[in-house]
Symmetry: D2
Subunit: 491 residues, 4 copies
């Protein structure tokens, strides 16, 4: 039963956009489920709410295990892995945007088709899912979950084509959006990226033979797999016992990889498009220092994500880098709804000031983004209370002025601080002596471009520019009644 | 996670056929969910494994709660009932034939249709469910459960008719089997019985206005509702705010109500087809005494179900009725897998002999049926060990020679004692000095008929005769591959 | 954590006194824990709230398992039994009078003494436990539970005697009350009954050798043990590998066995003091019919406990016995807090009227006792609503006018209906056309006496007479402050 | 029930000594329990296995809540805090050395004394606990837990003194060991440190009035309390409504504060003996660089504890500091028992190499200690696999050659790498090109001393020197039989 009285600790406090999901697929290993679990563990930063694995054993027999919570909590037991036999497996980490997650929404989704079992998991968001769903329901399709993945499954089920691959292509041609998906049926493991390649997907090779598909290279590293290459935008990879095939059902288009993966989402030790993320973040920090230098005594990162940029900033600025803010990693699932009196203390459950590094100093705080601004305000206040004489905030991304509709959980636009205020106002709101964001061109420079080419931008930067490269069909169509929703009083 | 080490106590011991489910529907009460829960509680004997309720509140908003275990365990809390608001509700008790019940199989099932939400629950079994399911999957329908109810839902979803009622009739015309179903959509509560009326369904009226549909009258009694009448075979009842309508989409046929409801399934205080079940069972016992009298000192029922027949037998035979066997009602969910040494003790967890009523006496045991014979053998042995000088077994049903395919869980035919042995052999196997079953004609006489009319039998008695009035389509068609099954490592 | 919102179903409804506990001890079987679990299962009627077993294996190694709920729910799993190895074991069923049971209060209690481990469990109540506890605390003893058993343990711990048996006798001489206890240490299994023998304890012999001690003979029957004899009032039984020894540390006194064990507590198939309980209850019913006959059409027991008395009554009165009230055994742990509207329906979750046996008839209801009268009133009302023309209530015990302090949970005196009202008033309160209780002398006659000898009553009948044979020390001494109580926010 | 199949992830992997516990006490705030919970949250690094809080409300009424897991998981719910009313509270974080924690072992412990309720919690270890326990049991005391705290409680209970404070002093004079304890009774909050002050305890003042006692200053910071001072070695602090009193029952001795608190245990933002821990660690790193410099390209900390020392090392050495190892903070409660094949992969669940910072470089790894060496070997191997050309390990503590008996969980001596091998061997075992530890004198220098004064060392450094300042009574006395232990088959 839902415990209505608990309060997820992060709500209203961890002021970051949130990635929606990581995926892993393995073909050709007798340890497929265990390797998938390890890969999901390495991708845990992309979704901590629930995890699921589907494995495929002989004679097309599928096995599944799903659970709320971390990968280690659900797949750490050898008995669970033993219940997922087979030479292929598919896994998914979920980040959910709201409320309780019904277990039926935890991916991978599975269906019995005429041609056998089929499982699919994806990272991303379809921008015409509601439109498609209404059409499918009108046709007699019954939806059991509220995930986009189920739209894929119904489109495949009703396709008039006969082979699985033709049905999948038929389905992909009907959807709009940003997605990286992995699918598994009796004959093959399949990976696909949307035509603009917004969400990441990489292909690796196991040391023991066999292939792996995963959202980031860190999932390859943990299982000792070698990176082969990124799956390309619009490409479908089919892996079966005869090897790997590439299929390109879409016309070539300018790639628009999500620029925020560099700034915040990807793990620092992952390699994205040939460049280590950690390096990139240090270069962004250095660029930020060049653009928005300030006289100060110490550079302090907002942990943990601001650390590499702060190091780059400090090195470029020649100012000491210190851990002036300590993060408490033992936050637990929930925490206190404080009384008014305690709330006035401005209690910091997740961060605390390292007073000895701050007291009497001019501090530059480096963080990766400001979304609502709530956390930034608390952090600045905490640093001042610890005795900083000046607090300057530097942000390693441009102002977040627009919501993401491509698979990242951001607040609606009206809640984005940068959508309503200019930088001077924002500085005042968060209480900083000065505030600066990296420029859009500066960000592109740090990524090795000469700047942003407005005619053919190299990345999806819609959250900073409002330049939405994929149509927002559902968002612009509220004409039809939404599907009714069953309210479950419990799981 | 499934605990593989526990052993449901009843397996191999409670040697009865098992009812598969009870249903309740309420329309027109602000306490709809609470009344439904009470009705399900009164029908708990029809299924103890899981229970579910779906309620309908304003603007077509549906709410659901399901759980494993007893009604009282799942719906005893006022908070749960408060989470099921609305003026109408639908409930279901489930008895499952095997293994763990996935929560997704617990009825009522719910679907979002183009025309709004729709919930359905049924008691019974479709005999062409697999055939229909294969056809539906071929067409692109995706199944999420393994229950027959989902076949109803898909047939309704893909129907080309426009009104809910036309779609439902369209669906019912395609299914074969024995079923009593209740369904709920935004505009109405619906009840339907199969054309032969094999499974029961009664209509009642609430004291406060509003209607109730339920499997037995005992569910009406607990909520103070008045019995209106049985829903008739092949009839569809539609209840909405304007009242009750009867729809008869099927041609009239000879009714074939399940005769085993009289013998064992129905609660003794329920009234079936105008006759109290308790009275009927006493009349069956008396008829049995007339047919198969024996000189004895005491008539002892096998509790609890054999009690009324034993009372009728004792009164007719003029032999004292005594509770010579005591039943332990505190059996709990599971019990001991005994060591060999303990198993040799012939441990009786559920029944114990009341030695003072048995020792030195000629005992007639009265039970309602013999399925596998395992319990009968244990009971006879226990009574002998308690000192009975003779043990005569009298059964208030004819020999169970055939399996049921119409919603009752019976073993396959090869496991039915009476399918393989004549009565003398059966007596020897269970260790009784004599054994007699009521005759088929005697049973019909006890039910007020002159005997069984072989040309037009008044009841479904297939378990005694093999006369299957509804085609057994799925059982006779094993040509196509079964659907693959997802093996879930946990819930 | 305590779920404050659930409501134990029985509260205010099952209007019986409640037994506080059953005990079992085994010495000399390699299946000691399994046999103990089976014995506890047979004694489940004496306490359903929690169960515990302590076993003793080689080198004085003790093992324990305790849990809330039924024996079968906690000890049904072979893994649990495997975790309780050894040749001796001790078990306890607990009935708790109030609130949640802390697991630390579930018996057997265990302590590490200088001489080794020691476990004890008892059925009964000490009447000077608080007085002793205060003295022990003053001396520096720390109490961890709120059970009387812990007083035994501290008294043994601080005794200046050296042998376990001397310490135990030292302890028993300091306590007042009604108790049957079983204890286990490295060298022996011990059983003891209080000097008046108020609570039951029987000695049996296992077929495979070894001994068993248990509250009732039904616990011997389930494991195939032979009854040896009742442990006598004031007797201590010591069982070790050399056999059984009897020790009598107390002067002989007139035995005062609890008369309510005959009327209600003991299982009908148990043999108490040489007489089967079922027989006794039928004789009580017959005596009641002779004393308080009434013209009627049908005798109806209030199930389940009223059945044998009703059979005796019916046979003596020559009026048909019918099951006019059906009991629902599937009540579950909790049930609905009904809305006002539903409460007005007078919902009967546990009993329902079998209308066909009642309508238009003059009904005699036979029950075993009236405590608060709440259930009786509901039952009478239900029977009237089912169409009875007259309802006469006959009770197979005298009026319950006093509380029990000897191990039975009864309400305080002010809540006992018979303490405040004469029989005519009680009849009016419960709504019966007539009401009669068996007389005290009639009850003694049914038990084979010539009547009650006021100078030396053969039984403890304090609940009917206020004749308390054991001093009520604690009840009469409220002078000192009670011990403070730790309020645990969770288990 | 214990799930035997899961494997705590950290076992054999996180190769650190482990702190045993953190304590917090509050007196004089209406938010006492909430503030205690926040303080425990700040001290979560000192124990993550279980947490408990006891509060004291009016009329000496105590309330308690305990649970396994993190503070936030157990005390995050406002309902739990509401169940702990009062103006004073006591809390404890537990780290357990082995197996499952029985809830009865979770502190604070509570007892009902003659003078009222009493709760106590401590950080540390008594070195004569077993000896005292045997004597207490011989006297008739019954132990319910296996914690040292219960020895305190029994000693207080049996003391012949009359006031609580006298009894406490009486008890403290009988115990040997390292402890910081906080206790709560109706009249006062008490804090005490052992005579050598081995374990930390600080006194703070709440902004709203009232006092706080806590293991570290970070617990004061989170609730906005001002540091007053360290509780002094051998000092007892008594706080009641009239203010704070200091009692010194012990003769003054040379303080021997645990030097490992500086190196590893204390949170970097805590201030210990007037010096910020973060600063101290940087100074230790700098000293280490001076002592054991090496030509290299990059200084890489082993996260998270090695970070400040690595920063100090890097600054002193003039070599770039980089995050060459990434720590995965989402490890969960348990993780995979890998198959052999996976184990050979050398899977790193907690750390991964940041290849771009390591490949082709000469790397200096900085860690705080080597205990068994298992993690160091894995880390070195991982860094080599990531392409380091040289790997030099630098340790910010001297070699750990002896076990701790003063409240820190270290392996027995035979499992300490430095107890069996010289530094050259250790380097070979962990696979490093070079290995160096800070010298003992160097460590003292970094702490502001001129070096270690062997005649009067300023700190407890027994783990590096074997100089045990407090007698190890229990460890040297194995003559008597240990107390038997009850083996609980479940919780």
């Amino acid at each position: 039963m839902t415990d209505l009285s608990t309060q997820p600790w992060d709500i209203g406090d961890d002021d970051h956009p949130h990635e929606e999901c990581g995926v892993v697929g393995i073909w050709g290993s007798s340890d497929a489920a265990a390797l998938t679990a390890l890969g999901l563990h390495a991708l845990q930063h992309r979704g901590q709410e629930a995890a699921g694995i589907v494995s495929l054993a002989g004679q097309g027999q599928f096995h599944a295990h799903k659970g709320r919570g971390l990968v280690g909590d659900n797949f750490g037991d050898a008995h669970v892995i033993a219940g997922l036999p087979g030479h292929a497996a598919l896994g998914h980490n979920r980040y959910a945007t709201t409320g309780e997650t019904a277990l039926r929404n935890v991916q991978p989704l599975y269906a019995d088709f005429e041609f056998g079992g089929f499982a699919v998991a994806h990272n991303g968001n379809l921008t015409n899912a509601h439109q498609l769903k209404r059409a499918l329901v009108r046709r007699g399709c019954l939806f059991q979950s509220t995930t986009d993945s189920e739209v894929f499954i119904h489109l495949i089920a009703i396709s008039l084509y006969t082979t699985v691959m033709d049905r999948l292509i038929d389905a992909l041609k009907q959807v709009q959006g940003a997605y990286s998906l992995v699918a598994l049926h009796n004959g093959a493991l399949i990976g696909a990226r949307d035509p603009l390649g917004v969400r990441p997907l990489v292909l690796g090779k196991l040391a023991t033979g066999g292939y792996v598909l995963a959202s980031e290279t860190c999932a390859l590293d943990i299982i000792g797999a070698d990176m082969v290459r990124d799956v390309e935008p619009g490409e479908i990879i089919m892996i079966d016992d005869s090897g790997m095939k590439s299929i390109r059902p879409f016309a070539r288009a300018q790639s628009r990889f999500c620029i925020f993966e560099y700034i915040y989402f990807a793990r620092p030790d992952s390699v994205v498009e040939g460049t280590p993320v950690y390096d990139t973040r240090k270069r962004i920090g250095a660029e930020l220092a060049r653009e928005s230098g300030v006289t100060a005594d110490v550079i302090v990162p907002v942990p943990d994500s601001g650390v590499p940029a702060a190091m780059g900033y400090a090195a470029e600025a020649g100012i000491p880098f210190e851990l002036g803010i300590i993060r408490n990693h033992y936050v637990g699932r929930t925490f206190i709804e404080p009384t008014d009196q305690i709330r006035h203390l401005g209690v910091k459950l997740k961060h605390s000031a390292n007073r000895s590094m701050i007291e009497g100093k001019r501090v530059v705080l480096v963080d990766d983004s400001i979304v609502r601004g709530t956390t930034s305000r608390k952090i600045v206040e905490m640093v001042r209370q610890a005795g900083a004489t000046e607090v300057h905030m530097r942000i390693s991304s441009p102002p977040t002025t627009h919501s993401c509709f491509y698979g990242i959980d951001t607040p609606e636009r009206s809640k984005l601080l940068a959508a309503k205020h200019d930088i001077a106002e924002m500085a005042q709101i968060i209480g900083a002596d000065s505030l600066a964001f990296i420029s859009l061109d500066g960000l592109y420079r740090a990524l090795g471009k000469t700047g942003r080419d407005a005619n053919a931008p190299a990345y999806c930067d819609a959250c900073f520019t409002g330049d939405y490269a994929i149509p927002l069909t559902d968002s612009q169509d509220n004409s039809e009644r939404p599907l009714s929703l069953l309210q479950a009083a419990n799981r």
